[in-house]
């Protein structure tokens, strides 16, 4: 989390801010309440290209196209500000599921971390700035399994 320039006073805000610094908190996670599960990957969220976001989020992982993932998103979005997306898969041992919008200024939209208790079935509403490929990757078995779909985003005719 970017805390530069902010005056972090001794408070809940300051305490929580320190929770998210660095990967070391993963080790600390088991002893802390819920929140500090994994750091917010600033580099990945700030990356401006799809490749940059993928390599920041998942450095070194092999990517394969998959037919075992069901990505549900509209072919033509009603409104680019609220695009409903869901990802479902029966791939085993899913660690994370991430969504990337290729043409967004910052392509990485969200990363879901799943536990062995989860069923790999997640939904979210995202923003898409323009017609773009929507890419879902599922991290399973040490690989990234990918599926993608184009979502058209139009500028409506009947504004008002």
């Amino acid at each position: 989390m970017n805390v530069s320039g902010k005056d972090m006073t001794m408070s809940r805000r300051g305490f929580l801010g320190s929770l998210f610094k660095g990967a070391a908190c993963i080790a600390a996670a088991t002893s802390l309440p819920r929140l500090a599960f994994a750091a917010w990957n600033e580099k990945a969220f700030k990356a401006e290209t799809l490749e940059g976001a993928l390599s920041s989020k998942y450095p070194g992982l092999e990517i394969v196209d998959s037919t075992a993932i069901k990505l549900k998103a509209p072919a033509i979005a009603e409104n680019g500000a609220v695009v409903p997306v869901s990802v479902k898969t029966n791939l085993p041992d899913v660690k994370t599921i991430s969504l990337f919008v290729e043409k967004n200024p910052s392509p990485l939209a969200v990363t879901f971390h799943l536990t062995p208790l989860n069923v790999a079935d997640v939904s979210i509403r995202i923003r898409m700035g323009e017609t773009s490929n929507l890419i879902a990757v599922v991290e399973s078995g040490g690989k990234l399994h990918r599926v993608q779909q184009e979502v058209k985003v139009t500028i409506g005719g009947c504004g008002g």
């Binding site: 989390m1 970017n2 902010k6 972090m8 809940r12 805000r13 300051g14 929580l16 801010g17 998210f20 819920r34 929140l35 599960f37 994994a38 917010w40 990957n41 969220f45 500000a81 609220v82 695009v83 409903p84 869901s86 919008v101 967004n104 200024p105 910052s106 990485l108 939209a109 969200v110 990363t111 879901f112 971390h113 799943l114 536990t115 208790l117 989860n118 069923v119 079935d121 997640v122 939904s123 979210i124 509403r125 995202i126 923003r127 898409m128």
Partner: protein, 99 residues
């Protein structure tokens, strides 16, 4: 925030709607000034004290974020607790019982 949690055949589906402006930091107001970014960065949920969900959230998530996830082993009456934190360090926790 609002939470709806329902169990069916051992799978609990949890849906949440969080009230948050999710300002990307790219919008300008009517006078041309940039509205500062303010967006949720993490959301996590627990069931009976066990973590069952965690999301790293970016600026591409819509205003008033909606998210849904599912997990095994919940029963009617169990408590789901959801917490979010945003880029300013503000945080909120909500709770609901599984129906």
């Amino acid at each position: 925030m609002k939470i709806k949690a329902k169990v069916k055949k051992d799978i609990t589906k949890v849906k949440m709607l969080i009230k948050h402006p999710m300002e990307t930091g790219r919008r300008k107001d009517q006078d041309g000034n940039v509205i500062p970014g303010l967006y949720i960065t993490e959301v996590s949920a627990s069931h009976n004290g066990q973590p069952v969900f965690h999301a790293e959230v970016g600026q591409a998530v819509s205003k008033d974020p909606y998210m849904a996830f599912s997990f095994k082993g919940g029963v009617s009456g169990d408590k789901i607790s959801i917490t979010w934190i945003d880029s300013s360090g503000a945080t909120e926790t909500g709770e609901a019982a599984i129906k």
